[in-house]
């Protein structure tokens, strides 16, 4: 059984998550008056893509070195795919590789963007499903989880149904496919968040907290992308990219922290081993000393009885 993290540590982690979310919402509120804020959008998208590739490689490496957790495999595949898509989008958006992809217009940009978001949310959900199967949750807890998730999924299905109805009625026409796919990915993200919160992995493992941090910011990014807030559309697209960037940074920190914890465990194991070896050497020396003392006592006892001379004579006589 794994050791529980100190409760104070867990509380501080969740407090910092809430403060970061609040700070980001504050930034979003005032971002409308910051003129240069939008200038960084392509750069941040590119850096996010590179971070996603890093995360993908680290996750796959983690899966390869410790093949017990399948969820690392899914996280790895997901982030590698998303990283490649993000970078491809930036290149398309800046008008690069125009000679190679002559048929691709700038209209492809939002489609690939929606697909990359959906892909990541589905992969996160699958990674949670896999970790749930590997975990040892009680039947009662699993039943509660299923009930709550069913409720959330049902609400989303209803919401999406309303949008489809509006489309049929001709009320909503613009970007309806984007809204529906966006809602589906938002649903998967919320289900993954609920899953990771309810399985209480964060009580024993720091990495689970960083996954929760990632999903929280991905949800924020998706809310900005759809867009649900009463802000300027262009600002929200930009903030969606920034939220994603912070989400990736969070998971990257999580991986680095997890590597550091593994390294620290290894160091403490080595120290423990060295300590035990020293104890073993000391015990061995003590036993040898005791044996020598015992032998010396035996010799002196035997000499006093003259038996040593007898033994010597026997040995000489045989020769």
């Amino acid at each position: 059984m794994e050791d529980k993290l100190p409760r104070e540590h867990v509380d501080i982690q969740f407090l910092s998550l809430c403060v970061s979310l609040l700070a980001f919402l504050g930034l979003a509120y005032w971002a409308g008056d910051i003129v240069w804020f939008k200038d960084f959008q392509p750069f941040i998208t590119l850096i996010s893509g590179i971070f996603a590739l890093f995360i993908g490689v680290i996750a796959l490496l983690r899966y390869y070195t410790k093949q017990s957790s399948l969820n690392f495999l899914f996280i790895g595949i997901g982030f590698l795919g998303v990283g490649l898509l993000d970078i491809f989008q930036v290149v398309l958006d800046l008008g690069g590789i125009g000679n190679l992809f002559t048929g691709i217009s700038t209209q492809v940009y939002p489609v690939t963007s929606v697909l990359s978001k959906t892909f990541l949310s589905v992969v996160m959900f699958i990674s949670w499903l896999v970790s749930r199967k590997e975990g040892k949750s009680s039947k009662g807890r699993k039943k509660n989880e299923t009930l709550l998730m069913g409720l959330v999924a049902g609400s989303f299905v209803l919401f999406i149904g309303v949008f489809i109805f509006l489309m049929i009625a001709g009320v909503v026409v613009d970007s309806l496919a984007v809204i529906i796919v966006g809602l589906v990915s938002l649903m998967f993200l919320i289900l993954s968040l609920l899953g990771y919160l309810l399985n209480r992995g964060w009580v024993t493992d720091d990495f689970n907290y960083w996954i929760i941090f990632l999903i929280s910011f991905l949800i924020l990014s998706q809310v900005f992308y759809l867009p649900f807030f009463n802000l300027e559309y262009s600002n929200m697209m930009n903030l969606s990219v920034w939220a994603r960037f912070f989400a990736y940074i969070g998971l990257l920190i999580g991986f680095l922290n997890s590597i550091y914890v593994m390294f620290q465990k290894e160091v403490s194991t080595q120290k423990e081993l060295a300590k035990k070896n020293k104890q073993l050497d000391e015990t061995k020396a003590k036993i040898e000393e005791a044996y020598l003392m015992l032998r010396e006592e035996k010799w002196s006892l035997a000499r006093s009885k003259g038996s040593v001379d007898k033994i010597l004579k026997d040995v000489m006589g045989k020769k």
Binding site: D11, L15, C18, L22, Y29, G32, L231
Partner: protein, 162 residues
């Protein structure tokens, strides 16, 4: 003695834990409240309303200039020749201001238009300027703009006069 110290330590730890729990609960509530506030965002509504007033003001100044040009056949000479509307020296002076130095004094042109006094931007509380800028682009057009517009909105009108 030692036992009482340990009991005191435990009490402090329990107190700190309780404060942390309360802080976590409160911050979760704040996040939910911030989400709700961002969905409604009344601040944006006010900014939008002020920007609408700015749009109307810019339009009325332009209409006034248009009437002056129709009547006289000339672009007012006091409007500075500048392609960039929001530049130093392009700000329109307030009606009735005693000192219009470094501002564009349009008081003589108002007689031709419908407006009797020039509108002033809500955020321009001090000085003799109105917060609205005007320029002549040198190609027969007048540009009127409101650089104090909020939430990164650009409010500018360009009209070809002759």
């Amino acid at each position: 003695m030692k036992e009482s110290k340990t009991a005191k330590d435990d009490e402090i730890i329990a107190k700190r834990q309780f404060i942390l729990d309360v802080l976590v609960g409160f911050s979760i509530f704040l996040v939910v409240a911030a989400f709700a506030y961002m969905i409604l965002n009344p601040g944006k509504g006010q900014s939008d309303a002020r920007n609408s007033i700015r749009n109307a003001d810019v339009l009325s100044i332009m209409q006034s200039m248009s009437k002056y040009v129709d009547a006289t056949g000339n672009i007012p000479s006091m409007i500075p020749l500048n392609r960039e509307c929001a530049s130093i020296g392009n700000e329109i002076c307030r009606t009735g201001s005693l000192d219009c130095k470094n501002y564009v004094d349009l008081s003589t042109t108002l007689a031709e238009g419908d407006i009797k006094s020039l509108p002033v931007d809500t955020f321009r509380t001090e000085g003799n300027g109105t917060g609205y800028y005007i320029s002549n682009d040198g190609e027969g057009s007048i540009v009127v703009c409101a650089p104090l517009a909020e939430r990164e909105v650009t409010i500018s009108i360009k009209q070809f006069m002759y």
